[in-house]
Symmetry: C2
Subunit: 346 residues, 2 copies
């Protein structure tokens, strides 16, 4: 293993959107501060032309991702590259931070091109439903590449992190050595990392919290008081815990007290677009499809998709009734149920 053998760890960031760029600022600085890392961090960029110039070229000369994270300087040791194979082939650490829907195709491209001692950490939020049941992104990557995969999730708005506003985040790891290495890559005085040995628990928090935020948005739209919203948040966290324990082994209750748990649920239920669109659904009566067109330029909400996937799993396991909040959110989003049921049915 690189760190142990004396060879230097080489970090590659796969993705360069809003969050990928914000996190590259932290990684770029941290590899310089710790002797076990190579000083260059490669960042895979999906090539685009901005006013006739390649985005990779702009990043490598101006050190700014002008499209996805404007006005934030990136460290000069973060080197953008549009050739995914060139990016990953000598890396010992892959940081996945691409949109959910590109995970499969990206893994297919790099399969067999990685070093034997390579491992990954996923910053991607979401779950998939396969024939076998629920599939976490970390599981998809682990299966596709046969490498160890950790995750990082927390109450982290990309722009606030880029502006160095204090927040916390949670790393879920399997292998304690990797947990330590990842902590060195990500921890700073303003971006405080807690690492817990519970990959699935941390990742499920990241995916399921969006469903809770929809419920909170409905309550806001219904103009209920603060007590009601707090109750919805509490019941949401309880269903997140119950769901995680029901479908995964080794989930730790303490994980839900981490930044990926209570902090991320709270911030998503008080701010963010899930809450906002759910509130607008109640007030305007418009469908989520229409609201996504009006308010998100047609981009899809992750939470409504997750709620559908969760519902499939619960139906298949005959236990929708044990999850009244998740089930009611699904029925409001997909079956035209009146939003007031979020209060009456749970």
């Amino acid at each position: 293993m690189p760190g142990i053998s004396g060879e230097k760890e080489k970090v590659c960031i796969i993705g360069s959107g809003n969050w990928g760029s914000a996190i590259s600022k932290i990684i770029g600085k941290n590899v310089l501060a710790h002797p076990e890392f190579n000083s260059t961090v490669k960042m895979w960029v999906f090539e685009e032309y901005i006013n006739g110039r390649k985005l990779t070229e702009i990043i490598n000369t101006c050190h700014e991702n002008v499209k996805y994270l404007p006005n934030i300087k990136l460290p000069s040791n973060v080197v953008a590259c549009s050739d995914i194979i060139e990016c990953v082939e000598d890396a010992t650490i892959l940081v996945f931070v691409i949109p959910h829907q590109f995970v499969k195709s990206t893994c297919e491209k790099i399969r067999g091109k990685l070093r034997d001692d390579c491992r990954a950490i996923s910053l991607i939020k979401g779950v998939d439903v396969s024939k076998g049941g629920l599939m976490l992104i970390s599981e998809e990557i682990r299966e596709a590449l046969s490498i160890d995969v950790s995750v990082l999730m927390g109450a982290n708005v990309a722009r606030e992190v880029a502006l160095e506003q204090f927040c916390e985040t949670t790393i879920g790891y399997n292998d304690p050595y990797n947990g330590e290495i990842f902590k060195k890559i990500f921890n700073t005085s303003y971006f405080r990392v807690n690492a817990v040995q519970d990959v699935s628990g941390v990742e499920l928090c990241g995916a399921l919290k969006n469903v809770v935020a929809l419920a909170a948005g409905f309550v806001d739209g219904l103009k209920m008081g603060s007590n009601t919203k707090a109750a919805i948040i509490r019941i949401g966290i309880a269903e997140m815990k119950k769901f995680s324990h029901m479908f995964y082994i080794g989930i730790k209750n303490e994980t839900f007290f981490e930044s990926c748990g209570v902090a991320d649920v709270v911030t998503t239920c008080y701010g963010g677009r899930h809450r906002k669109l759910a509130e607008a659904h109640v007030i305007t009566g418009k469908s989520f499809d229409d609201l996504e067109k009006d308010m998100l330029n047609g981009q899809k909400l992750q939470g409504t998709i997750t709620s559908k996937e969760i519902h499939q799993i619960l139906t298949r396991n005959n236990c929708t009734e044990e999850f009244p909040l998740f089930s009611t959110v699904y029925r409001i989003c997909y079956e035209n149920l009146c939003p007031s049921h979020i209060i009456h049915d749970i």
Copy 2:
């Protein structure tokens, strides 16, 4: 014991402020729905004159507490009475819902006047510091009257409860039989009770959350983003847990997932007067004494007092450094520390 022997339980509410009146509405209805309770609920009222009429007389004829909970009808089987001995002497259940500072004098008045099978539940938030250390209100009542004392705490704004908006609450009990009885007295479709066998845990949540809300208010005043506020809330809950475990035996981690825990912390950190005054302290630079005069008609905040009491305990036990959030809140409130330390020192 009354319920067991076939004799009816007699409930007496000690207190008739905002919260006492709101809860009397629930208790009055519930005793009629369960055969084990006597249909009359006595409510002790500190006698006042409203436009020349006694408050007890107004409550008993108009069934409304015009001073503390106007425009809400109380059940006619809730009978107001200004003689505390007459109220308690045949009661089997006492519901304490008076201001913190009147607990001692009230207990002194009724000591020796109670039935042998009487027990109590406290809805009062706060802690005291005695020579021996921290003293919970339930402990004060238990010591003064030598009876079993449960507690009820949660994300419960009196007016929202009176308007029957959905919320949850937590009962902490010692004796499971009493836990069951109290659940029958308080649980309704819109006021959902969870009962846990952890009196101290539930009560500590109710007291300590106000200190966390002060920290959240400072963050708001500093105009930090949502990530930072979520981190402060999470760290606050972690210190609440740590403090509870350090000074009390038998605290259950799960209690902090109940309404008295995460839900009440969240609602107090986003609404409520602790958050508001702490924010105003940052923005105006005024002392809490002045802000209490300006914004609360001179009424004192519970949370600043609690933070001082907590600080005494931590200092005495040489562990202020293990509680950076609690300690920083204390220093901002009482030692003129610049509020930005709430970010830098934790």
